[in-house]
Point group: C2
Chain length 153, copies 2
């Protein structure tokens, strides 16, 4: 049975996933969606960028994080998708060759006042590399179905 709103516990935390960041993917994503030279030109990035190396687009890091969430966290969840995301930050750039993993901590659950069959869950998501350096943090607000609509949670 999938994870419903009632099955989510505030304070619980899960860590999972292993996503290998490749230079080919960094370049392909950037050429399509974020063609700034520090994301598309490895040589110039090595010589001139603040980081001394080609770095992934922040939206690419967010998208790789989403893939880890879909495969490991939302795969068996009665979720309707995210209403939105608060406090998205990129504390460090993501580099080709790194391996990303994700931690999700449940911050808050709010039953819908108007619709008794659903509620929102606010989590804190942290994406880090194999050395534990944080690459992305955010607070998604996700809509979940309830399997006992209207009862106290």
């Amino acid at each position: 049975m999938p994870v419903y709103f009632e099955d989510v516990t505030v304070g619980e935390s899960q860590s999972f996933g292993s996503y290998d960041v490749t230079e080919a993917d960094v370049l392909a994503f950037a050429e399509a969606y974020d063609p700034q030279w520090f994301h598309t030109d490895p040589e110039r990035a090595r010589e001139e960028s603040l980081f001394g190396s080609l770095a992934a687009s922040g939206w690419h890091t967010a998208s790789m994080t989403m893939r880890l969430l879909v495969d490991n966290h939302f795969a068996d969840t009665a979720s309707y998708g995210a209403v939105g995301v608060d406090a998205l930050r990129w504390p460090n750039p993501t580099f080709p060759g790194e391996t990303l993993s994700v931690t999700v901590e449940v911050l808050e659950k709010t039953p819908s006042e108007s619709k008794p069959d659903r509620g929102t869950v606010r989590t804190r998501v942290t994406t880090e590399n194999e050395a534990g350096e944080p690459k992305l943090t955010m607070e998604p607000i996700v809509l979940y179905a309830r399997h006992t609509p209207g009862e106290p949670t």
Copy 2:
């Protein structure tokens, strides 16, 4: 000369861009980064999804928005990239066949206290389709270089 921190005016607003959302791109993005059935299976989405149609991943809408910003807004800007994004929301799903455009309004400028050669600019970004329906709103916080470091702005 590129747009520096000093050249940005609080309250100014720009609208631009024209991004055609194709089903092929919606599927390719979702298969790579957000393989949930309402983003990857056109038939099932038509029959079972809340929206009655295949919808783009919210991260795809954000990435298409970034492409419009890079091509039209950051192309000639002394920007070091975004520190982060607040209040990211997807008020409506994005569908194949739509054409997206973007409006950027400058909300706030904050000179760095520790580094006189830079400052942050908070904007309100709204992405909408050709009928003016909002698809994404967010408040990016972007780091800009100053061309007169330390002088009053």
